[in-house]
């Protein structure tokens, strides 16, 4: 049973978090615990996940009591509440006016029905009550040890936000870093569909950052939609944003950490050279219901459909792919990504790869080595998973051969 209350200012931050998470996915998990209330979302291609934890001291009052009945698998310890973004986002649509208009907001769940009740106590004695039904679904945990990344940058969001107007939300953006500077640029670089796309690049010197630690000169490419969402949230809470990353292929973490809340967006990045993605490695994913469990999965296609929720992290392929002959090609998420190509390959033989050949990847294991994959690595953010984090991090995502999941 969850019961918490917030003031107008606090619910504005809460609403902003939901808006930021809406850029990740259409589904939101409400995951309360003794530590506080966590909001989680995971996008459909599993290439981005968002997590915002509001600690119990963030709220004016916060109460979470686990249900009395305990099943064998301990599932009812958790709320397992999944809400549609379409239901919850309109409730927090006008967050900017919350400070003036809303005096108090209460959120609670009813013990018997699958319902979350959000009540706004507004000026002039107006009370607005929203009853949102939820689906029982255990949220996916994310494990990502940000402190183990070679490169950590902390920057005031305003500076990066100026750069982000260069890029439209559907684009992939490349972050290239060296000890001398950071370069944020359009992902397609010199190679893409050239005639109409602007290539933009912004260089930022190290003294503009609050913290600039570069252990590894590298370039990572990821979708800028979630980055924009996190920047907006970071500006709203007036906390600088940190970026943690390593080599291409390993996910990048965008995080803001404050006394009252912690937010992490973990995004898949395009994998680098094909040599790295040669051999299928293990993917690790844990579910809320089995928080102490780790699953080692074979990344072969066959096992993918077996478990719910899907435990194979993959980036979907798009039907129209441009790939140079004989060079590995990056498959990116279906809905809103372009077709970036990392290798500076010869452009003479660019042709469209018919969809069927993407599906052939599954049948021909040796073609794995010729293809690049984005990888997504999941692990728990919470500290009680430390013991599992010594496992090797290399991971491989599989290209999905179907468009419609």
């Amino acid at each position: 049973m969850l019961k918490c209350g917030m003031s107008g200012t606090q619910v504005k931050v809460f609403g902003k978090a939901i808006q930021a998470l809406s850029r990740v996915s259409d589904e939101l998990w409400l995951d309360p615990s003794e530590k506080g209330l966590a909001l989680r979302s995971l996008n459909s291609s599993s290439s981005a996940c968002g997590y915002v934890l509001f600690s119990s001291v963030f709220f004016e009052h916060y109460q979470w009591s686990a249900s009395k009945e305990m099943n064998d698998d301990g599932r009812s310890l958790y709320l397992n509440c999944k809400l549609g973004m379409k239901s919850i986002l309109p409730i927090f649509r006008c967050v900017n006016s919350f400070e003036r208009y809303v005096e108090k907001c209460k959120i609670f769940t009813t013990s018997d029905k699958c319902k979350v009740v959000i009540q706004f106590f507004c000026r002039h004695g107006i009370k607005k009550t929203h009853n949102v039904c939820f689906q029982e679904s255990s949220p996916l945990q994310v494990n990502f040890e940000k402190k183990m990344c070679c490169n950590t940058l902390m920057i005031q969001p305003r500076l990066l936000a100026e750069a982000m107007v260069l890029f439209s939300s559907n684009e992939d953006v490349t972050l290239a870093v060296s000890p001398l500077n950071l370069c944020l640029k359009s992902a397609h670089g010199e190679l893409a569909d050239l005639t109409n796309s602007v290539y933009s690049e912004m260089l930022v010197g190290p003294d503009e950052f609050d913290f600039f630690q570069v252990g590894l000169d590298t370039e990572i490419t990821f979708c800028c939609k979630e980055l924009k969402g996190m920047l907006i949230f970071s500006e709203a809470v007036h906390v600088p944003m940190s970026i943690h990353f390593d080599f291409p292929g390993k996910p990048v973490a965008l995080s803001i950490v404050d006394m009252l809340l912690e937010a992490n967006f973990i995004l898949a990045t395009l994998a680098g050279n094909s040599s790295r993605s040669c051999s299928p490695q293990s993917l690790c994913l844990s579910q809320a219901g089995k928080r102490s469990d780790w699953r080692q999965l074979n990344s072969k296609a066959g096992q993918r459909g077996m478990h719910k929720p899907p435990e194979c992290i993959s980036r979907k392929t798009t039907p129209k792919r441009l790939c140079p002959q004989g060079t590995p090609v990056k498959n990116s998420a279906a809905e809103d990504h372009g077709s970036p190509q990392l290798k500076k390959a010869n452009l003479d033989n660019i042709h469209e790869v018919p969809r069927s050949s993407v599906g052939d990847t599954e049948e021909e294991p040796n073609s794995f080595s010729r293809r690049k994959f984005s990888s997504m690595f999941f692990g728990a953010v919470s500290s009680d998973q430390q013991e599992h984090l010594n496992q090797p991090f290399a991971s491989l995502a599989m290209a999905s051969d179907s468009e419609d999941d």
Partner: protein, 247 residues
């Protein structure tokens, strides 16, 4: 062909940005003509009858602190480029807080207009933002299509009312009819009329004022109360009015 230019003054940059925004609202692609004294933005909607044509001329020394160009040849000292107008206006959007803006013609696998902005920043290292806008070079044989249009002698010249008001009136009229009649006279009166089988709507503007007539103007003999009228396509008029909102 060479082109390099630099803007250091904030007001000039602002003005240039606003011109670019206006162009972007009017048409998807535009032609940029670079000559030693001037910069022109040219739109000509040759394809569809009744399209919007535009000729915009900027004296380069009013905007640029540095301006160097070398045209196709000594006799034809001009450069004609075709680009997507929105790309330029978006690139200039980042230049709001710029210290300097540099534009040059480059060739990075294909011809580009490289816009390089040096942003103001607190610390010693300044941020540099670069945009490579792809464009097409227009061959000399097509240059005749982009000459300055001649403005025909007018029967009536009148100052328009506040464009915002005009735009909201025309926008509502768009829902009723596709064609609009604009009529005006030398007494400062302007009417906008639409007519369908079911309804006629007229909006009257009075006391608008007319520009002074030149001494050899044929309309001197005209009866000031007599209206001159034209029929225009409402959507094209709205497209024009929408582009003016940046001022």
């Amino acid at each position: 062909m060479k082109f390099r230019a630099k803007i250091v003054d904030a007001a000039c940059l602002n003005h240039f940005t606003r011109v670019s925004n206006m162009i972007a609202k009017l048409a998807k692609t535009c032609t940029l003509r670079i000559s030693p004294e001037k910069l022109n933005f040219i739109l000509c909607d040759r394809l569809v009858g009744g399209g919007v044509s535009m000729w915009c001329e900027l004296e380069q020394e009013n905007f640029f602190s540095e301006f160097q160009m070398e045209g196709v040849s000594a006799e034809n000292n001009a450069i004609y480029l075709e680009l997507t107008s929105e790309n330029l206006s978006r690139a200039l959007k980042t230049a709001q807080n710029a210290r300097t803006l540099k534009i040059k013609l480059t060739n990075k696998h294909f011809p580009c207009l490289t816009v390089s902005v040096e942003l103001l920043s607190m610390s010693t290292s300044s941020r540099i933002v670069t945009h490579d806008i792809p464009l097409k070079v227009i061959p000399r044989k097509l240059w005749k299509d982009f000459q300055q249009p001649s403005v025909p002698d007018a029967d009536v010249s009148i100052y328009l009312p506040v464009l915002k008001t005009l735009k909201s009136v025309v926008e509502k009229m768009k829902n009723i009819s596709n064609h609009l009649v604009i009529e005006a006279n030398l007494n400062g009166e302007l009417n906008l009329k639409i007519e369908t089988d079911l309804v006629c709507v007229t909006t009257h503007f009075k006391d608008l004022g007319n520009p002074p007539l030149a001494s050899d103007d044929a309309s001197r003999d005209r009866d000031p109360a007599e209206m001159a009228e034209v029929h225009v396509d409402i959507r094209k008029l709205l497209q024009f009015l929408a582009g003016q909102q940046t001022w």
